[in-house]
Structures are given as structure tokens and as C-alpha cells.
């Protein structure tokens, strides 16, 4: 379930008096946001070419095509900027954009629905898929994003086949009496 557009940043307000904006980037490499242009607003009504002019605290100062005055820049405050999904470069095998994985349906090897991917985390020990709905009745469950646990990622059909290890679908706090110190 690949999204057609991906949110890559937001406009935090005007910068200076010459029509520049304060740009907040959500990209892994913040300066990469300029390379994904033209960027469009959430409703798709306006499109901008982005030119980063300098780095400032908490983001960049940038010039947007068609924005020439401070008033125009200030009017864009709070707008989220979206890039076309096609603008993201292709990835090698076994690498996926979070935007492509989020929303995919997850089924187990027997075809039983487990839920949908709601987030992808990386706490330093490899990527983890967070799945909610389906078998994840209470809250969400976390599955390591490995070939063993997630043998198939089918972006075309919008689904992931997972083989959760025993015990990984249990959610909630430990049963009373079994909690260890530490």
C-alpha cells in the first residue's frame, strides 16, 4: 500500500523580510528535502520548488518558488509539504521506505490477519514493525523486521507475510507473580 505522496517537511513560519521561510525537515538526512521537489501542500493546491539558503536552529531557511514577500511566507506557516513518492530513489533489495511499510496488512503464514503496520522503529537493535488490529487485540505488537520473522513483503499486493515467533503476539503486562526484579 504505497502512498502516492509522502510528508517530508513543514513550514514553521517566515524567515527574514525577503520572503524566505523556516523549513522543518522530517527526512533522515534533513538537507535531502530540497532534492524531492517540487513539494506540494497537503491539499495539493500549491507546488513549490525548494532552495535551501542556509541552516538555522531547528531547520533551514529556504526560498520557495512563487513566494516573494514575508507576508506570503508567513501565510504558509504550519503547512506540511509533500513529495511525490516517485521522487524517492529506488532502494536495494531488503530495504524499504517506512512510508511503504506503514499501512500494509500483515497476515501469518496460515493466512490469518494479524493487523496492519502502524509504525517502524529502530532502537539500535534492528528495525521493528509495530502492528495493531487483528490478533493484536490489546494495543499493538512488535515484530523484529528480519527475514526469518517477515519472510515476504509484497508491496504490490499491499501485504506482509509474517511468521511470528512463539510468544511474540502476547501483549500487556506480565501475569501477577511472574514479574522479575530489575
Amino acid at each position: 500500500m504505497s502512498a502516492a505522496r509522502v510528508c517530508v517537511g513543514a513550514i514553521a513560519g517566515a524567515f527574514g523580510v525577503r520572503g524566505e521561510v523556516r523549513l522543518k525537515s522530517f527526512c533522515a538526512e534533513p538537507a535531502a528535502i530540497a532534492g524531492y521537489g517540487p513539494l506540494s501542500t497537503e491539499d495539493g493546491a500549491r507546488r513549490f520548488e525548494v532552495t535551501i539558503t542556509r541552516q538555522i536552529p531547528q531547520g533551514f531557511a529556504a526560498r520557495l518558488s512563487g513566494v516573494g514577500t514575508r507576508e506570503e511566507a508567513e501565510a504558509l506557516r504550519g503547512q506540511r509539504l509533500y513529495a511525490d513518492r516517485d521522487r524517492l530513489p529506488p532502494l536495494p533489495e531488503d530495504e524499504f521506505y517506512h512510508a511503504d511499510l506503514i499501512g500494509l496488512e500483515v497476515i501469518d503464514t496460515g493466512g490469518r490477519p494479524l493487523g496492519r503496520v502502524i509504525a517502524v522503529h529502530d532502537h539500535g537493535a534492528g528495525d521493528i514493525l509495530e502492528i495493531a488490529g487483528g490478533a493484536a487485540r490489546r494495543g499493538s505488537v512488535l515484530l523484529p523486521f528480519t527475514r526469518e520473522v517477515v519472510p515476504t513483503v509484497d508491496l504490490a499486493r499491499g501485504r506482509i507475510v509474517a511468521d511470528p515467533p512463539p510468544g511474540s503476539l502476547d501483549t500487556g503486562p506480565p501475569p501477577p507473580g511472574s514479574r522479575r526484579a530489575g
Partner: protein, 92 residues
């Protein structure tokens, strides 16, 4: 020899027992632990631990680089979702 070197790394006994049992069984299961203070030992490499963060067990696949660190370092207690944007995930 400093005291910490003399004492050696700390690991809760039940973590060692569980890890040994899982390794002997050859099963690919998530070893649920609550001990965030335990040190990651070389014999844990290749095993997947579910480290409790106060809410749920975060899967931690132990690799060689993690040896000597604590399990709790890989199981944050606060969650930040952020934006997906162009972030990538690699399947190991």
C-alpha cells in the same frame, strides 16, 4: 584491579537460565525478560530477547556489537513516532 573488573558483568540468573534453555532447545522464540539491568554476554549473540519497557516487550536481536551493554539500552521507555518521510528499514 578495579572492583568492577574483579566482580565481572552482572546478569540476572533467570536471564542466563532462559537463554541457555532457548539455545539448547534450538527454538526461535522471543525470550521475554524484565531485567533491563542485565549485561549482554557473548553467549546471547543470535538470540532474540523481548526486553520489557514497562508496557511491552521490545524485540532485541542480539549482535556482537551489543556485548557489554545493558538490555535496557535497546528498549526505550518512551515512544516517539515522528514522520516516516524518506526513512528506510532494512530487513536483516
Amino acid at each position: 584491579m578495579s572492583r568492577s573488573v574483579w566482580k565481572g558483568p552482572f546478569v540476572d540468573a533467570y536471564v542466563l537460565r532462559k537463554a541457555e534453555k532457548a539455545r539448547e532447545g534450538g527454538r526461535n522464540e522471543v525470550i521475554k525478560i524484565w531485567s533491563r539491568r542485565s549485561t549482554i554476554l557473548p553467549q546471547f549473540v543470535g538470540l532474540t530477547f523481548g526486553v520489557y519497557n514497562g508496557q511491552k516487550h521490545i524485540p532485541v536481536l542480539v549482535t556482537e556489537e551489543m556485548i557489554g551493554q545493558k538490555f535496557g539500552e535497546y528498549s526505550p521507555t518512551r515512544t516517539y513516532y515522528g514522520h516516516a518521510a524518506d526513512k528506510k528499514a532494512k530487513r536483516k
